[in-house]
Structure formats: structure tokens, C-alpha cells
Amino acid sequence: MARLTSIFIVCSPRQRVGKTLVARALTEFILANGKSAVAFDLNPNNTALTNFLPRYTAPADIETTRGQMALFDELIAPGEVVKIIDLGDEVFSRFFTLIQTIGVADEAIRRGIDVVTLFIGDPDERSAQSYQDLRGIRPMALVPVHNEQIANMRDYMAAFPNPIAGEPPVRIPVLSPFLKSVVDKPGFSFDDYLERPTHTRTELHEWIERVFVEFRELELRLLMRELKLSLTLRQP
């Protein structure tokens, strides 16, 4: 069965690894492809995502049962809207415990919705441990994200192997400090920047396009998985 839509969970148990940046870029990528998207801001202590994408961001909380109902009932609601969750590090473990308790991923799959967790790797050991723990949660697809901004270290991403052997992590290239300050300006939109008529191509054009290509490839890989799975199932 072809998947109707997807839920993307952008996460890390650590602060300042670029979760909101990735969630913003992914949301804009999906919108730029003409699909509907809603981003859920699960950062109890800041509203960065909401500030960047006010029209596409829904505030969310999982502290109260009502908040959980509002979020999870919406996530698995029928329709073709792609959902992106910017998961704050403060609620990382609580969120995944709830997902398993309530059985969100199972129900989503039953309803034809893919659940994809984008995990941003970093050199901290606790992150590697959390990543290992998440590998046990089925039937979620787990995809490592290599944010090259994080650390200029030896290959720490080895601790975040892609569960599908041979598939690379999603790469987010380095942004120079100047460009970082540009994209962090309130109201900055990646897609608007690409679409703006200009004679000069900047480094930022390059960066946004590379990120979008990464997302495009991720989309294709997920589609391939789905295809392979359906072919395997059809075999007698």
C-alpha cells in the first residue's frame, strides 16, 4: 500500500544541535513541493520554530493528557498533511515513552502514515545511547542526521549507523557564522530566499539547495523501502 503521508520527528536528547534548523528546513522543503505541512513545536522553553513559521506551526505540549490528545489525535488524523515535530531535548524521553505506551507508531502505520525519526547525532555518549534505544522502537524508521555544524571531530557519526545498511545519514552542511546569522533572522524563509529573483548566486543558495537535495534523497530512499517491502510481501 502506498503511504498517504508521513510524520517526521526531528530530535536529539541534547540542546543546540540544530533541531529547529532541520525542522524549519524540512517543513519548507515539503511546502515548496506543493504539499501541506504542519510543524509541531514541542519546545517547552522556547518558541523559535513558531517564530519562523507562524502560519505552519502549531504549539504543542505533552505534559497534560489534554495536550497529548490534541497532539497525537492530530498526528494520526486522516488527510495528506505531512507533520513535522520539532522535539525539544527536555521532552525527548517523555515523548518516546508516550509514543510506545499509546502505540502511536503502530496506529500510524495501520492508517498508512509513515513515521520517520530524524536523529541529529553529536559526539556525546548519551546521544549514542539514546540512538541505540530508539532503534528498538518499531515500526518507526530511524534516520541519522549528520549536522556538520556540530563538531569538527573524528567520525563520531559511527555511533549513529543507519539501520538500513549502506544508506548514508542526512547531511546538513556547515553554514558560515555570517550565513548562520542571516538564516536566524526572525522571519527568514529558505524557500523565499531561493525564489527571490537575483543575479548573483550566493553561498546560501548553495547551502539551501544542498539541504533540499538531501531531503529529496531521503524521500526517495523511504519510497524505495516502501516499494521493496510491498514486493517482499507479495511474494508467495
Binding site: T65, R66, Q68, M69, F72, D73, I76, T101, I102, G103, V104, E107
Partner: protein
Amino acid sequence: MSKPTVIIVGADKGGVGKTTVSRTILDYFTGRNVQIRAFDTESPKGTLKRFHPEITEVVDVTQVPDQMKIFDTLSDSTVTLIDVRAGLLSTTLAALRDIGFLESAKRGQIQLAVFHVVGPSIASLNEIADIAPFVADGKYYLVKNFINETSFFDWDETTYNSYFKKIKDAVDITVPKLNEMAYEQVELASVPFVTFIANKAQNGDPANYSFVLRGYVRHWLGNVWGEFDRVKLMDVVSSTKSSGSGDRGGNQRAAAAEAEKT
């Protein structure tokens, strides 16, 4: 010779979630294709009957006609559950002794199991002492019910053990906490837990319960059933059937057919 199974669920005081425990047992056996019927002693208006109207009858267990209704109709193929009103557990057991029921259990003609639901206070353990003499020959389950509790039981191990050891082969079962809103929603819906999980109304029509709350109930019920599996609750029933093998197959087919109908 096969023998009927009688499960008594009781507590010496109200508000410890006795009926909730009965409901999980009814769901447990129904889900395993074991026929079960229930008697609710909260006359005139039983809570258990509200959730399981089709298999529940409201009775007054101290009255002879109602005793006949329960005990003269015991059968090998059906488990009988009696939800004993708060404060009536010792009285009920005394009545059972008087009609010779406990004697039958002792002689092995009836399989008796007692679920004693205790509240969070240590005082309620005193009840165990009163009940102990009656259940020496049955299965005794001490149910610690956390369903509505936010705080943990404050057990004093020494006190606890001194009471607990009075009953031979006593086994304890823990019912974990269930999310308050989920609990309330099931109360409002007045349906068995499994029906709530399946998103159905009392009459079988599709309902519109929150997915999150259903998830909480599914997870919680799974844990409760896990406890029942751990204490091998099914053995209480199957031991009664192990002798008549031909009979057993018939029963299971009937049960499976029954389950398919619903």
C-alpha cells in the same frame, strides 16, 4: 470429573476499585474464549452490570433465593465471578461456609479463587486476617490496586508479611495506575475495557473515543493481563477441565463459536 470455577472479588471497604478488578477479569477470560458470567452484589443497582450488562446479574448474596440462583447453576463450562459489595466479603464467605460451598471447595468439587482488593492504607490489611480461615483451600490473590493512586503504597514489610503469611499460597497482583482521563472516559462510556480499546459503543456501533486515551487503556490492560498471566490465572480454569478431555474440546469449540458471534 470436572469442576466449576467460582471467582470471588471483594474488599472490606469501598473505593478500592474492586469493580474495576472484576471488569479486567471478565475481559481477560472473554478474550481467552472462556465463558464467564458475573453476579453483582451491589443491589439494587450494580456498577458491574452497567459495564457488562449481558453477562451480569444483580443479586443479594445473603438471600437464599439469590444464593440458589448462583450456586445451583454452577457449571463446568462457565466461570462464575461474584463481585462482592464493599464490606460484605467476610459475610459472603461466612454464607458460603454455611451453605456448604467452602466444604465442596475443600473436597475439590469446586475450584474457588478469591481476589481480595486492598486499598493503599496499612489498616486494610487487617481484613486479611478475617478472611484467611475461609480460603485455605482455594486460590487467594491479594490485589494491590494503584489504578487511581498517585502515591505508592506505604507498606510496612514486617506488618505486611505477618498478615500475608497467614494464607497458604497467597499470591499478590499489582494493578498499575491508569491515566485519570482515560479512566473517566471509560466510566462515561460504560463499556468493557476491550470495547473501549476497539473504539466501539455499548451496542457495537463505532464510537469516537480519543486515540490517546484508548492507547492508555490498551497499555494498562495489557499490564493487568500480564499480571494475570504471571500468576497463571488460566490454570484456575483449565485445571477444572483437564480431567474430561472430550468435554474440553466441546467447551472450547462452543466458546470459540460464542466469541465469533460477538
